[in-house]
């Protein structure tokens, strides 16, 4: 595992929809490198022929009838949690196109 460059950190931040200050980029480059160095030891474990375990209890699809169920909160009560303006039961966000 090579160390992460400030450029890589900025790229990851972009993918994660975060903007970082230059000081944060510096700090994260060091910290993320040390975390990746720590978890990198997993690559040494022989996992040949081992199926990945996604859910420890092996629970698979848990079906229910395809019927709309409204539990407790109404759509308007949920919309009321938004910090943005609500117009006609919809949240008004900044424009996607600037």
């Amino acid at each position: 595992m090579a160390s992460l460059t400030p450029e890589q950190v900025r790229h990851i931040a972009k993918l994660a929809r975060l903007t970082l200050t230059n000081a944060e980029v510096e700090k994260f480059a060091t910290e993320l490198t040390s975390i990746l160095a720590y978890v990198d030891r997993l690559t040494q474990v022989n996992t040949e022929g081992v199926e990945p375990l996604k859910i420890a209890t092996g629970v698979t699809n848990n079906w229910r009838e395809d019927v709309v169920q409204q539990h407790q909160a109404s759509p308007d009560a949920l919309l009321g949690c938004s910090p943005l303006p609500i117009i006609d039961h919809q949240i008004q966000t900044p424009s996607a196109h600037g």
Binding site: L4, V9, I12, A13, L15, A16, R17, L18, T19, L20, E24, F28, E31, L32, S34, I35, L36, Y38, V39, D40, R41, L42, T43, V45, T47, V50, E51, P52, L53, K54, I55, A56, T57, V59, N62, R64, H71, Q72, A73, S74, A77, L78, G80, C81, S82, P83, L84, I91, T93, P94, S95, A96, H97, G98
Partner: protein, 487 residues
């Protein structure tokens, strides 16, 4: 009527049932205790004294104390939604505009049905990410046994509040040790249930394939009472399984004859803290003297659990935290040029450093070209860790003993600039998470500095009953859990 708040649930229930005390008196005792000590601990982040008193009066008026939780006041980790009660995950993302959820979590609904009263919210690391509550936007919760030390985390507020008698029990969550470690640090009992044994509906997610919810209490018997009320399938959480919930209190026979207890050599290594090792080995001897058989066992993939956890957890964090985009909840900014800048500005100014770190690690681990090397490999290692436990259990072991933490509680700020050192706090607590098995923390001694030491008891998937049985028998034979801090 002093000291009512120091009662266990079982003791308080007896007094309530016989009408020796009222729920109002019991609740007032907790409210008074919070007023007296919380400024030194910083466990409570939302004080719901008024709503609790209203509920207490209603329970007293109804006069029905057939449920063991009727009229019992409790505190909830600040990630459980309760309709009309501010819930912030101790993050500026939700604190900024004070998120007030319009719905209840299944667990708080079930507790309400059982007659328990919510006293408010307690501190946690931001979105449960941490082992000390130091990442909380409300600041650190201090350990009632020594306020220079952390109470642990992420459910540090829950454990400190229980240890300081601010409530009769508290709810926590355990993704990578967040119930067991603070319970161990504060001399409480705390149980992580089998993955899917308790519903997570209405509890803010951190890492969905690992998250569990559960109680922290003053005795193993109390944990059995609470689990009896909250465990079981929930149609609102598809990961809960349709496995019958036994009567956990009936499992508390006080008898461990015939139980085989595994002592895993990987948890007792050269150079480990001698006081912790001594206390745990002594606890094993106590159980042996009660009729259990000790057996040395090996769980060879133990050392890989924490690295696997710190791949799987942040990967799932990066996905779960995507919902905090400044659109549906809480924190917002003004003047963004477009939607994308709005997301970036709202998220960057809302999240704290540890949440950002985990989002970044997870984003990297899941990004093109790295998925197989990190996330998929970690899931394979997880399969190997589970296989270790399967092998031991199928060879006749019923429960496994280990320390909860490598050391007693550390000083506030000790791991401040070293995220990996903080992650190593979980070193004995991640294997159980990977294997989806239940594990409990029980008080088993004190360091010479007067800090509590926790004993971890692990069981088979869905077999909380045997874990509780062993822990309860141990408690009956020892006095550690009865010790109280001086505040």
């Amino acid at each position: 009527m002093d000291n009512l708040c120091s009662l266990t649930i079982a003791q308080a229930h007896e007094k309530l049932r016989k009408k020796e005390i009222s729920s109002e008196e019991l609740t007032q005792a907790c409210i008074d205790r919070i007023a007296a000590v919380d400024s030194r601990l910083n466990a409570v982040v939302f004080n719901g004294a008024e709503m609790a008193m209203e509920q207490a009066k209603a329970v007293d008026a109804a006069g029905d104390f057939s449920s063991p939780l009727a009229g019992i006041p409790y505190l909830t980790k600040d990630v459980y939604c309760e309709a009309g009660v501010p819930t912030t995950a101790c993050s500026n993302v939700l604190r900024d505009k004070t998120y007030v959820p319009p719905f209840d979590s299944t667990t708080t609904t079930r507790l309400k049905k059982a007659g328990a009263l919510s006293l408010g919210k307690v501190n946690t690391d931001e979105f449960t990410m941490g082992a000390s509550t130091e990442t909380s936007c409300y600041g650190v919760t201090r350990n009632p046994w020594n306020t220079d030390c952390v109470a642990g985390g992420s459910s540090g507020g829950s454990a400190a509040a229980v240890a300081a008698d601010e409530c009769l029990f508290a709810l926590g969550t355990d993704t990578g040790g967040s119930i067991r470690q603070p319970a161990g640090y504060c001399n409480c009992a705390g149980i992580r249930t089998t993955y899917g044994r308790t519903s997570r509906y209405g509890v803010m997610s951190m890492a969905s394939s690992l998250d569990t919810i559960g109680p922290i209490g003053k005795s193993v018997e109390d944990l059995a009472i609470i689990l009896g009320a909250i465990a079981g399938k929930d149609s609102l959480d598809a990961t809960t399984a349709d496995v019958p919930v036994p009567d956990y209190r009936k499992a508390l026979t006080g008898n461990v004859k015939g139980l085989t207890i595994g002592i895993p050599k990987e948890y007792f290594v050269d150079g480990m803290n001698a006081e912790v090792e001594g206390a745990v080995r002594e606890a094993a001897k106590v159980l042996e003297s009660l009729g259990a058989t000790l057996k040395e066992i090996s769980l060879p993939h133990t050392e890989h659990a924490t690295p696997a956890y710190y791949v799987i957890c942040p990967s799932e964090v990066s996905s779960n935290m995507a919902r905090y985009d400044g659109v549906r909840f809480g924190h917002t900014t003004s003047g963004a040029a477009d939607l994308r800048s709005y997301y970036e500005e709202a998220r960057s100014s809302g999240f704290g450093a540890e949440v950002k770190r985990r989002i970044m690690i997870g984003t990297y681990a899941l990004s093109a070209g790295y998925f197989d090397a990190y996330y998929r490999q970690a899931q394979k290692v997880r399969a190997l860790i589970k296989r270790d436990f399967d092998d031991v259990y199928s060879a006749g072991v019923d429960v496994i003993l280990s320390p909860v933490s490598p050391t007693p509680a550390f000083k506030v700020g000790a791991h401040q600039d070293d995220p990996v050192a903080m992650y190593l706090e979980d070193i004995f607590l991640d294997s159980q998470v990977m294997a989806g098995i239940p594990a409990m923390s029980v008080p088993c001694g004190f360091s010479k500095d007067g800090l509590p030491i926790g004993l971890q008891i692990m069981g088979k998937q869905w077999d909380e009953a045997t874990v509780l049985r062993a822990g309860h028998a141990y408690e009956q034979a020892t006095e550690w859990h009865k010790q109280k801090p001086t505040l």
